[in-house]
C-alpha cells in the first residue's frame, strides 16, 4: 500500500480526489437541492461536442469541453426562461446536439482518437499536474463564492419568486451558478468521465441528505462522503484491476445503500415507521 504513494500518478490521483470531492460536494448540493440534475446531465453530455471539436482542431479537448459546457449551460438557462419550450425538451436538445457534434468531429478527424474512452468513462490515474492546477483554481473559486454568497444562494434556490420580490439579482446568480456547474463537470471529466460525472454531483449529496436537512452540513458531509467514495473506488480499481471511474461510482452507490439501510434500521428499532 505504501508503495502506491511513491508513484507520481497516484499522488496526483489522490489530490484530484480531494479537489473533486470539494468541487462536486459544493456544486452538487446546489444541483440536488435545486433539482437541476437533468440540466447538469444535459451540460455534461453536451460537453462531448467540445471534446470532438477540440480533437478536430488539434487543441486540448478539455478546453473545447469547457467552452461547449459553459455555452450549453447558459443556453439552457436562457432558453428555459425566455422561450416557450418545455425545460426538459431544451435540455434534451442540448444533450443530443452536443453528443452528435462530438461524434461527427471525432469521426472526421484524421487518424485515431486515442483517449476517447477516458473522456467518456474517466480515469483518475491519468490526471496530470496542469489538470490539478486547473482543479485547484476552480475549486478555490467555487468555495469562496459559496462562502461569500451562501445566504443568497440558499434563498434563491429555495424560493426564487420571493427573492425577485426582494429585488435580489436572481438571474445573475442563476447564470453564475450554472456556469460553475458546467466548469465543475468539465474539470471532473478526467476523474470519472462524462457518463459518470453526475454520480459525484448527486450520490454524496443524497447520502448526506439522508443524515441531515441542513444545507451547510449537507455540503460538508457530501465533501467527506465524496472523498471516501473516490479513494475507496480508486483503491478498488487498483487492486481489482477494473476501470477507476466505474469503480468509484459503484463504491458511492454501495455507500448510499448502506447509509439508507442503517438509517431505516435505526428508525425501525425506535419503533417509528
Amino acid at each position: 500500500m505504501a508503495e502506491l504513494f511513491t508513484h507520481e500518478f497516484f499522488k496526483n490521483a489522490l489530490l484530484a480526489a480531494v479537489l473533486a470531492s470539494i468541487s462536486c460536494g459544493v456544486i452538487g448540493t446546489y444541483v440536488v437541492s435545486r433539482r437541476i440534475v437533468f440540466i447538469s446531465g444535459g451540460i455534461t453530455h453536451a460537453s462531448f461536442g467540445g471534446i470532438g471539436i477540440g480533437y478536430f482542431l488539434g487543441v486540448n479537448p478539455i478546453l473545447g469541453a469547457a467552452a461547449f459546457a459553459v455555452i450549453s449551460a447558459l443556453g439552457i438557462e436562457y432558453l428555459t426562461k425566455r422561450i416557450e419550450i418545455r425545460n426538459d425538451s431544451v435540455i434534451a436538445m442540448f444533450w443530443a446536439f452536443g453528443m452528435a457534434t462530438g461524434i461527427i468531429f471525432v469521426y472526421i478527424t484524421p487518424g485515431y482518437a486515442p483517449n476517447l474512452m477516458s473522456f467518456l468513462f474517466g480515469n483518475i490515474l491519468t490526471v496530470s499536474a496542469p489538470d490539478i492546477m486547473f482543479m485547484v483554481i476552480l475549486t478555490a473559486v467555487i468555495v469562496l463564492f459559496f462562502i461569500f454568497f451562501i445566504k443568497i444562494i440558499l434563498f434563491i434556490s429555495f424560493d426564487e419568486e420571493f427573492a425577485r420580490i426582494k429585488n435580489m439579482p436572481c438571474q445573475l446568480f442563476n447564470y453564475i451558478l450554472i456556469g460553475l456547474v458546467a466548469l465543475t463537470v468539465v474539470i471532473n471529466i478526467k476523474v470519472v468521465g462524462i457518463i459518470l460525472v453526475l454520480s459525484l454531483l448527486t450520490i454524496p449529496q443524497n447520502i448526506a441528505n439522508t443524515l441531515t436537512m441542513n444545507y451547510k452540513k449537507i455540503i460538508l458531509l457530501a465533501v467527506l462522503f465524496g472523498f471516501i467514495g473516490l479513494v475507496s473506488g480508486l483503491l478498488g480499481a487498483f487492486y481489482l484491476n477494473i476501470p477507476s471511474g466505474a469503480s468509484i461510482v459503484f463504491t458511492l452507490v454501495i455507500m448510499l445503500a448502506i447509509v439508507k439501510a442503517v438509517k431505516r434500521l435505526i428508525i425501525y428499532s425506535r419503533g417509528i415507521k
Binding site: S33, F148, N214
Partner: protein, 250 residues
C-alpha cells in the same frame, strides 16, 4: 394617510391573453383592502403586478415613498407555495430570508435578527420550531412560517393571497386579528374567496373580474349604499353576485 402605490389605467396578462384591463387603484399607508372575484378574474395577477413580478402591458405602477427609495418594502404570502418541500432549509432560515436586502447579502444574520425571527414565529403560534426542517411542517404551520417571513421586515405593504388556505378555523380568526393589528403599521391587501370572513376585518372590498371595482369607505354615501343594496360601509360589485353583511363582525 400618505398614498404609497398608484396604479393608473393598467392592463396586464400572460401569453398574449389579457387578464386585467384598465385597472386603476390607489393604495394608502393605512389601507386594508379585501379582494374578491371569480377564478381567473385576475386577483393574483393584480398582486403580481404590484409586486413587480408581472410587467403591465400598458398603464403604470408608481411606488410613492417619502424617503425617495424606488422600491417599496412589500411583504408577500403566496397563494400556493410551489417550492420543494424537501429543500434542506430550516424554518428559522425561511423566516430570516424575509430580511434579506441587496446590501446585506454577504454578512451573516445578527443576533437581533435571529431574536426577531423567534419573536415573529412565536406571534404566529409556532415558536420553538425555528430549527426544524421547513419540509417537516404541516400545511398550516408552513403557512404561518411563510406569513412570518412576509412580515419580519415590517413592510409598508403586505399582500396576502388566500392566507386562510390550509390553516385551521382557530388560527383563521387569530390570523385576521393579527392582520388588524399589523394594519396599524402597514397597508394590507388580502385576496380571499371568503367574502364573509374578510368583510369583518377589511376597510374596503374590491372586486376583480378583468376590471377592478372598488370603493374606499370614505366615499360611501347613501346614494351608493342604495344603488348596491348594501347596508354597510363595504361596497362590492361587478359580475359576481355577492352581498356582505355587517353583522359578520365577531
Amino acid at each position: 394617510m400618505k398614498k404609497i402605490v398608484e396604479i393608473k389605467n393598467m392592463s396586464a396578462g400572460y401569453n398574449g391573453q389579457r387578464v386585467l384591463k384598465h385597472v386603476s387603484l390607489s393604495i394608502f399607508g393605512n389601507d386594508f383592502i379585501g379582494i374578491i372575484g371569480p377564478n381567473g378574474g385576475g386577483k393574483t395577477t393584480l398582486l403580481k403586478v404590484i409586486l413587480g413580478l408581472v410587467k403591465p402591458w400598458e398603464g403604470r405602477v408608481e411606488y410613492l415613498q417619502s424617503d425617495g427609495n424606488k422600491k417599496l418594502n412589500i411583504g408577500y404570502l403566496p397563494q400556493q407555495f410551489s417550492a420543494d418541500r424537501k429543500f434542506p432549509i430550516s424554518v428559522g432560515e425561511v423566516v430570516l430570508s424575509g430580511l434579506l436586502r441587496r446590501r446585506n447579502i454577504v454578512r451573516s444574520y445578527s443576533k437581533d435578527e435571529r431574536d426577531r425571527a423567534e419573536e415573529v414565529l412565536a406571534r404566529m403560534g409556532i415558536g420553538g420550531l425555528s430549527s426544524k426542517a421547513f419540509g417537516e411542517l404541516s400545511g398550516g404551520e408552513m403557512q404561518k412560517a411563510l406569513l412570518a417571513r412576509a412580515i419580519i421586515s415590517s413592510p409598508q405593504l403586505l399582500l396576502l393571497d388566500e392566507p386562510n388556505t390550509y390553516v385551521d378555523q382557530v388560527f383563521e380568526s387569530e390570523l385576521f386579528d393579527i392582520l388588524e393589528e399589523l394594519n396599524k403599521r402597514m397597508a394590507i391587501i388580502v385576496v380571499s374567496h371568503d367574502a364573509g370572513m374578510i368583510s369583518s376585518y377589511v376597510k374596503t372590498i374590491a372586486c376583480v373580474n378583468g376590471e377592478l371595482h372598488y370603493h374606499p369607505s370614505n366615499e360611501i354615501n347613501n346614494e351608493i349604499l342604495k344603488a348596491y343594496n348594501c347596508p354597510i360601509d363595504l361596497i362590492t360589485h361587478g359580475t359576481v353576485p355577492h352581498r356582505v353583511l355587517k353583522d359578520h363582525k365577531k
